[in-house]
C-alpha cells in the first residue's frame, strides 16, 4: 500500500494521540504497562506512518512488512498505534484487558488482525522475526521484518541465540529495534540512570536502593559492541527524534546481507512528567488524578 509521506508535524500529532490512548487505556483497565509503551511511541509512529508497507484492509497480505513486538507487555502502545493506522476501532480501545475484549493484556497472534505474534514472555520475538525473514527470502518476497525489543528482552538468552543465527543466515531483511530506556520491572537496568555517566560504582552486581527499586539489574553495556560482535549492522540513535529514527530505519532497510540493529536511547514514560524515568510506572496504571494530569500535559482536555 502506497503511503503519503507524513511530515514530522503530522507524526508528532499521531504520537500525541497515541500517548493519550496509552494513558486512557491503562487507566480504564486499572492495570497494564504505560512506561515502556510511552518510550516507544515515536518508533512505532515512524514505522506505521512513514516506513512500513502495510494495508489495514488486508492485514494478512503476504507481501506486507512485518512488525513483531517482542516486548509483549507494551500492548497499550501497539493497540493505540494500530487504531491510528486503521486496524482497531476506537470503541474497542477502552475494553483493553477486559473479559470479552479483542485486546488482551499481552499480544495474541492475529487478535486483532495486525498483531503478528503472541508475546509476553520476553526473549522470543527475534527468533520469530528471523523465521518470517527466512520465509520471505525463500519465497522471493521483498518484505522487511522489524522486531521491537526491550532492555529485558536483551537479557534473555534466546535473543542472543537469534542474534547469532540471523547474522549466520545473512538476514538483511531483518531489523531489530531496541527500546533502550534503561528501566525494567524492578528498577534500573544499569547504574547510569541514577548515578550519571561516570565510572561504575565500586561494587559488583545489582543492589536494592532505599526506595525499594533494584539498581544495576543487568548492565547491557557495551551494548553496540555486543550486537556488532554478533554480526549486526548497528547504530545508536535518539529514540524520540523522528528524523533520526527515519534515517536509521531507511538505512536498515537496504539489504546489505547483514541484519540491522538500531539501539534507541529513550526515556521510559516519555511525555508524562511523573512517569518519566520512574520504574513505578513500568506496570502500574494512572489513577483518576494522574490521568487528568497526564492528559493536561499531553494537551488534551480528556
Amino acid at each position: 500500500m502506497a503511503q503519503a509521506p507524513a511530515s514530522n508535524a503530522e507524526l508528532e500529532e499521531v504520537a500525541r494521540r497515541v500517548r493519550r490512548n496509552i494513558v486512557r487505556m491503562t487507566h480504564a483497565a486499572k492495570s497494564g504497562h504505560p512506561g515502556g509503551s510511552l518510550s516507544s511511541v515515536e518508533i512505532l509512529t515512524a514505522l506505521y506512518f512513514r516506513v512500513m508497507r502495510h494495508d489495514p484492509e488486508n492485514p494478512t497480505w503476504p507481501d506486507r512488512d512485518r512488525f513483531v513486538m517482542s516486548k509483549g507487555h507494551a500492548t497499550p502502545l501497539l493497540y493505540a498505534t494500530l487504531h491510528e493506522a486503521g486496524y482497531i476501532d476506537e470503541a474497542d480501545l477502552l475494553t483493553f484487558r477486559g473479559l470479552g475484549s479483542k485486546l488482551q493484556g499481552h499480544t495474541v497472534m492475529g487478535k486483532p488482525p495486525g498483531v503478528e505474534m503472541s508475546a509476553g514472555a520476553l526473549g522470543m520475538g527475534l527468533s520469530f522475526s528471523l523465521g518470517a525473514a527466512l520465509a520471505g527470502r525463500l519465497d522471493g518476497r521483498d518484505y522487511h521484518v522489524y522486531c521491537l525489543l526491550s532492555d529485558g528482552d536483551s537479557q534473555e538468552g534466546q535473543t542472543w541465540e537469534a542474534a547469532m543465527a540471523a547474522a549466520h543466515h545473512s538476514a538483511g531483511n531483518l531489523t531489530a529495534i531496541i527500546d533502550r530506556n534503561h528501566i525494567q520491572n524492578d528498577g534500573y537496568s544499569d547504574y547510569q540512570r541514577f548515578e550519571g555517566d561516570g565510572d561504575p560504582p565500586d561494587r559488583p552486581g545489582g543492589w536494592v536502593l532505599p526506595d525499594g527499586h533494584t539498581a544495576n539489574i543487568m548492565n547491557l553495556e557495551p551494548f553496540d559492541e555486543k550486537w556488532r560482535a554478533f554480526g549486526w549492522d548497528t547504530r545508536r540513535i535518539k529514540g524520540h527524534d523522528f528524523d533520526a529514527i527515519t534515517a536509521a530505519l531507511q538505512e536498515a532497510r537496504e539489504d546489505n546481507g547483514q541484519p540491522a540493529a538500531i539501539i534507541c536511547e529513550t526515556t521510559k514514560g516519555k511525555g508524562v512528567s511523573y512517569m518519566e524515568n520512574n520504574p513505578d510506572f513500568h506496570g502500574k496504571a494512572p489513577d483518576d488524578e494522574q490521568l487528568a494530569q497526564a492528559l493536561r500535559e499531553l494537551g488534551f482536555e480528556d
Binding site: G110, S118, L126, F128, G131, A133, L134, E161, A162, H168
Partner: protein, 318 residues
C-alpha cells in the same frame, strides 16, 4: 501384522519422509539444532538445502524460528532429542506454538529409557507429560518405523501443532505396508475379552507378546495401539473398559503424566475400571536398551503380571 522387515529405528524415517512430502508439493521447511544427523533431518537438508535452516545448539531459537516460518505459510518441522526439545524450550512451545496454534511440528528422538548407554540425563521420561499438558498439541508416539512414517505424513497434512516422539534404537517392525495410522484412533491389534493392554511406542510389541503369553494361560487380552495420545480414542478406551472390564497401560515414560495418567483420568470420569500400570517411576541409567527394558520392568512379563493384577481386581469387584 507379520514381522518380515529388518529392525529399524523410528527416527530413521524422519528426513526421508519430509523429503518425500516436499517432492509431492508440500511447502515443508526444517529447522535444525545440530542433531540432524541423529534425527535423520539431514536427509531432507541434502535434497532441499534452501529449505533446511541450521541454527546451532539453540533449541529455544529453533522453535521461535519455526513459528515465524509457519506464520508465513510454511509447514515448519524441527527436530532434536526429547530431553532438549521440549526439555529446553517449553515456554517457546507454549507461547509461540501451542497458544496461537502455529503450524509447527516437533520431531523428538531419543525418547525413553531405551536411549540406553548415554544414561539418565539423555533419557527423556517427562516429554509426553510436558506436551500433553498443552491442549492444542497433537501428540504421537509411533510403535515402529512403518507407523512413524505415516504419523509424520499425517502431521504434515494436518494444520496445527504436532509432537512426534521417536526412539534411538533399531526396534522390531511390527506393521506391514497395509497398516494405516489414523489420527485419534487406537487400532485393535488383537482381539480379546478378558483384559485390554494399551501400549505406545516400543512397548506395543511387548504388549502383543504379553497377549500371546496370557492366551496360553487362558486369558484373552485385547491389545490397543495408543500411538495417538492426543487426540486419543475415547470410544476405543470406553469400549475396552465395558467389554473387557480390566485395563493395563504400558509406556517407556513416567506413568504420571503419560499414557497411564491419561487413561486413568479418562476412565475415572466415564467408566471406573481396574487399571494396572507398566512404566517408569524413577530416573534411568546407562546400559543397552534391551538391558534397560529388563532392568526397569518394561517387558512382556511385567505386562502379563499387570494384567493378572487388573483381572484379579475385576473379579473382586464383580
Amino acid at each position: 501384522m507379520v514381522q518380515t522387515a529388518a529392525d529399524k529405528a523410528t527416527r530413521e524415517v524422519f528426513g526421508p519422509t519430509l523429503a518425500k512430502l516436499c517432492r509431492e508439493g508440500l511447502d515443508i521447511v526444517c529447522v535444525d539444532a545440530d542433531l540432524g544427523y541423529s534425527t535423520s533431518a539431514v536427509k531432507f537438508g541434502q535434497e532441499f538445502p534452501e529449505r533446511f535452516f541450521a541454527v546451532g545448539v539453540a533449541e529455544q531459537n529453533m522453535i521461535g524460528v519455526a513459528a515465524g516460518l509457519a506464520s508465513c505459510g510454511k509447514v515448519a518441522f524441527c527436530s532434536s532429542f526429547a530431553v532438549f526439545a521440549p526439555g529446553h524450550c517449553f515456554d517457546q512451545l507454549r507461547m509461540a506454538v501451542a497458544q496461537p496454534g502455529t503450524n509447527v511440528k516437533l520431531f523428538a528422538s531419543h525418547a525413553g529409557v531405551v536411549t540406553g548407554e548415554d544414561g539418565a540425563s539423555a533419557e527423556a521420561l517427562e516429554d509426553l507429560a510436558l506436551m500433553l499438558s498443552m491442549p492444542t498439541f497433537n501428540v504421537l508416539f509411533p510403535a515402529d518405523a512403518v507407523e512413524c512414517e505415516q504419523a509424520i505424513e499425517a502431521a504434515a497434512r494436518t494444520d496445527g501443532p504436532f509432537y512426534i516422539r521417536a526412539m534411538r534404537p533399531k526396534t522390531p517392525i511390527i506393521f506391514d505396508e497395509s497398516y494405516r495410522f489414523e489420527l485419534g484412533v487406537w487400532p485393535v491389534l488383537r482381539e480379546g475379552k478378558d483384559v485390554t493392554l494399551i501400549a505406545c511406542g516400543e512397548l506395543v510389541k511387548a504388549a502383543l507378546d504379553a497377549a500371546e503369553a496370557l492366551s496360553g494361560q487362558g486369558v484373552e487380552a485385547r491389545v490397543l495401539n495408543a500411538s495417538s495420545l492426543r487426540p486419543f480414542d475415547k470410544d476405543a478406551l470406553l469400549a475396552a473398559a465395558r467389554e473387557t472390564g480390566a485395563i493395563v497401560t504400558a509406556e517407556d515414560h513416567f506413568i504420571h503424566g503419560g499414557l497411564g495418567g491419561l487413561v486413568a483420568a479418562a476412565l475415572a470420569a466415564a467408566a471406573p475400571t481396574p487399571v494396572d500400570f507398566v512404566g517408569m517411576e524413577r530416573y534411568g541409567t546407562s546400559g543397552t536398551w534391551k538391558q534397560l527394558l529388563e532392568h526397569f520392568d518394561l517387558t512382556p512379563e511385567a505386562i502379563t503380571r499387570a494384567a493378572g493384577n487388573a483381572v484379579s481386581r475385576k473379579s473382586r469387584s464383580a
